[in-house]
Amino acid sequence: MEPADLALAEPIMPEPDRPPSKKLSATEWAKENLFYNVASTLITLGFVVIFVALLKNTIRFVFVSGRWEILHVNMTNMLVGVLFPREEITRGWIALFIVAMGVAFMVGSAHQLVAQSDEELGAAVVPQGQQMRSALGRFAPMVLLVVVLLALARQARFGAAALIFGMVAVGWVARTVGMRLPRQRAGLGAAAGGLTVVGGFVFLATGVGWQQWGGLLLTVFLASSAIVLCFPLGLAAALGRRSKLPVVRAFSIIYIELIRGVPLITLLFIGSLTLNFFLPAGLVPSGVTRSVIMITLFSGAYVAEIVRGGLQAVPKGQTEAAQALGLPTLKMLRLIVLPQALRNVIPALVGQFISLFKDTSLVAIIGLRDLLLVTQGFTKQPEFQGTAAAEVLAIAAFIYWVFTFTMSRESQRLERRLGVGTR
């Protein structure tokens, strides 16, 4: 062979070695992780005993000895409250559809808003096997909740199941549409989704006044209203705190520090007892309105501090580059700083919203019949007379857990998808 041929020949790369496989069989894994010495064996056995006992008791409680009749008759009460007129249930379902659509659309648009690469922007347009499986995993608690509720309900099970299935389908479509929005339209999309949610509640309110809402409906309404309203409030306070104008800055600092120093219960009492003094005469908002206002104010202060942290984490070079290009301050905030700041603080924000959801249970103190108070009320009914207290608490706790766990998992997924913390 000519030397020239050798020089031009493609170098033949050897096959890369595969790393040695470390797959262990089940017994090997157990031996290595659970029973590797006497102490660990004892600990493992101890935990197994406790775990089996708990499991046995739980299964017995759920399937055998639990007196679930209390929920069989009170299912509607738990979901919409005792005062909700039964003939308006259809309106309730429609409103729920609208709200689910709005929320799903908002989630999809929010994803497009914070995406930072081609893959992220085009992600999940074609659901692949793995993504569908992870979606099922995330929504398993919700599915479980629906199954539990259907099992406990005694009327219209088939209709309810069909409606829930329809809602999931509508939500899925809405979210996919939201995720196909181009970046520039994503902000509008999120706003449109928010308005749809508001519209859903307004639609319900036109048929059934707020005062008659209760149970899970009231809890979800309080939580979602407060979440939607506290975010712009907190954003404004965070920006106000960094403002150069002394009055704006003073107001923001006073608001944030005052509210953060007071427990939510206190604020709810203030809202229900003394808010009248601060408002013009004749304007007497309902108990629900007052609660929404106070919870919003409370959460807004925490959101403000979270957003402020996010703003500080945006590299200074970003504002310098924007300024060097001649961008005025508001445009710089809107186009450059806030998208980056908000992306940074997604975990903390969702954590705050999860807390908010659980904190809505405090409105029981001022007499609003939210999920917790309503379920407590069941045991006082003459048919049950103080029994089945554990069952009602269990179902209430389970419902809270399903919602917060789903929010938490969705947030984790969003973080993982966006690579937060890895870049």
Binding site: Q116, Q318, E320, A321, A324, L325, K331, R343
Partner: protein, 260 residues
């Protein structure tokens, strides 16, 4: 040997076409008690390429950042193309529109595509329609030789490509002056050349440039004047031939002996 070197004259005589583009007059800058700039006087002419050299802490970055108000000078005057820098926001923004700045750490906007990065300012500040902005963006991207990257995100590009995008982003605003603050200091050596090539091409088209850098080769090849700063003061100013072959001041000679 009697020195005929006159620092003031050398600093104040603009090169290029001779008309002053950037005028820095008796400028001081303090950070608390520390004086970063003391009595800086310099005139940069239209179409001139001025390279600013100096050890770290000499104030060269502070000076160039003071020109587009990323730092606020405490005394003296700064004028860009006749517009005086003052506290008036309109003046500041007018100057910033006409000065393009390229940073050491690129400072691209990570949540926007390359195309959006480049068209953002022309559309928002100069109010150009989308087509015009995108056409100009592609023109500048082609000029820095990476038109195929237009739809990627900054995180997907190499350092040299990102810096070239940063150059294109500034050029898309059609500025009168380009300011460079150590543009290649954060780059791998293999990527320094591609960025310097872009800057050399830019100088060849007659752009007024003020470049803070450690790349002596660039200074020798392209600079009209070299300004040497140390301890917040301008120590020596001259053509590259004067500066590298016949430096007058001892401080300059010390610096050159350490780096060459």
């Amino acid at each position: 040997m009697a020195s005929t070197y006159d620092l003031t004259a050398a600093a104040l005589k603009p090169g290029g076409t001779g008309e002053p583009m950037i005028v820095v007059e008796h400028v001081d800058k303090f950070f608390g008690d520390f004086q970063a700039l003391s009595d800086i006087n310099l005139v940069v002419g239209k179409q001139e390429v001025v390279v600013v050299l100096g050890p770290s802490g000499s104030g060269k970055s502070t000076l160039i950042r003071a020109i587009n108000r990323l730092e606020e000078h405490d005394a003296g005057r700064i004028l860009v193309d006749g517009v005086e820098m003052s506290d008036d926001l309109r003046n500041i923004q007018e100057i910033r529109r006409e000065c393009g700045m390229v940073f050491q750490s690129f400072n691209l906007f990570p949540h926007l595509t390359i195309m959006d990065n480049i068209t953002l300012a022309p559309r928002q500040v100069r109010k150009w329609p989308k087509d015009k902005a995108e056409a100009e963006a592609m023109k500048q991207l082609t000029r820095v030789k990476i038109p195929e990257q237009a739809n990627k995100f900054p995180g997907q590009l190499s350092g040299g490509q990102q810096q070239r995008v940063a150059i294109a982003r500034s050029l898309a605003m059609q500025p009168k002056v380009m300011l460079f603050d150590e543009p290649t200091s954060a780059l791998d050596p293999e990527m320094v050349k591609e960025v310097l090539d872009a800057m050399v091409e830019l100088a060849g088209t007659g752009m007024t440039m003020m470049v803070v850098t450690h790349e002596m080769g660039f200074a020798k090849a392209v600079a009209d004047r070299v300004v040497f700063m140390a301890d917040g003061q301008i120590v020596e100013v001259g053509t590259p031939e004067h500066f590298f072959e016949n430096p007058q001041e001892d401080r300059t000679k010390l610096f050159l002996s350490q780096i060459l």
